[in-house]
Symmetry: C2
Subunit: 144 residues, 2 copies
Amino acid sequence: MTEPLNTGLLLFLPYRALEARVFAGLAAAGFDDLTPAQARVFQRVAPGGSRTTALAEQAGITKQSAGFLVDQLERAGYVERVPDPADGRARLVRVAERGARSVEVSRGIVAEVEAEWEAHLGARRMAQLRRLLADLREITDPWR
Amino acid sequence: MTEPLNTGLLLFLPYRALEARVFAGLAAAGFDDLTPAQARVFQRVAPGGSRTTALAEQAGITKQSAGFLVDQLERAGYVERVPDPADGRARLVRVAERGARSVEVSRGIVAEVEAEWEAHLGARRMAQLRRLLADLREITDPWR
DNA sequence: ACGAGATGGTAAGAGACTCTGACGAGATTG
DNA sequence: CAATCTCGTCAGAGTCTCTTACCATCTCGT
C-alpha cells in the first residue's frame, strides 16, 4: 500500500474531498449535528424507506451499529421509523422532514463540486469518468 | 447525497472493495492485528520516514490520534521511531521489518485486484481511469 | 398445521478511535 | 534574547463499532 499511487488511494482522495465539502456546507446551513458515521447511514436510506439491516449491509457495519446510528438520526429529526406493513418484525427507516431539507442542501453542494471537477477535466472526460466508475461498480458493489 | 448515484459514491464503492480485499489478504497472511485506522496511517509512511504531524494531516486526523495509532503500529512491529536529525523535537516514523513484509503482501493483493479491474474494463479504459483520477487529484489533494 | 431454522431487531458490555484543551521542549524570527 | 511557532505528549471525554446473547416474527419442509 505504500507505492507512490495505487488506484485505491486515487479513488479515495476525491471521495474524501467531496465528503469534506458536503460536511462543511451542511454545517454552515445549520445541519451541524450530523456526524460522518450518521451521514454514511443516512445517505443510504431509500426513497420508500429502508430496513435497518439493509442499511447496515450497505454501509458495511453491523446491524447493532446501524441501529445505534438510526436512533441518533431519529432523535435529531433526520429520519423516522414506521412499521413495515410487509413484515411484523421489521420497521422501515424513512427520511423525515428535516432530513429531506438536508438532502436538498447536500445535493446542491455535490452539484457544485461536480461542476468544479467538470471544469477541471472537461465535460467529455467527466462523463468518461462517471461511465468508467459505473462500469467498475458492476464488480465492486455487492448490492447490484 | 441521496440521489441514485452521485460521483462520490461511485468513487467510494471500488475503494472500499479494494480495501476489503487487502485486509482479508493481510489477515490471511498473518497480519491479522492491523486495524483499518492503523492501516490508513501506516499507508502514508514515506520511504525515508514521516513525522507524526505529517501523517496526521495526510490521514485527515489530529496529531493526537496519529500518535496513538503510531504507538500501536510500533508495538506491533510495523514501524519504528527514530530521532529526526533535522529537528530535535521531532521523531521520524519509519517502516520496520514486519511492516515491510506486510507492504509486500498488500502490494501483491492490490496488483491482483487491479488486474481484475483491468480485465473487466480493458487495458485502454483502465489506463484512462487512472489518468482521469490522477488529474482529479490535482484539485482534490491538498498535499501535492 | 406445526416445528425447525432463518431473519429483523434490540440489549449489554467492551474495545477502538477520535476529539478538545493544555502543556513541555525545541526551533525560528526579529 | 524574547516572542512566537511547531512537534509531540498527556489527560479526559465522547463517538463509533464490535461480540455475544436474546426475543419476536417469518419462511419452509413435512
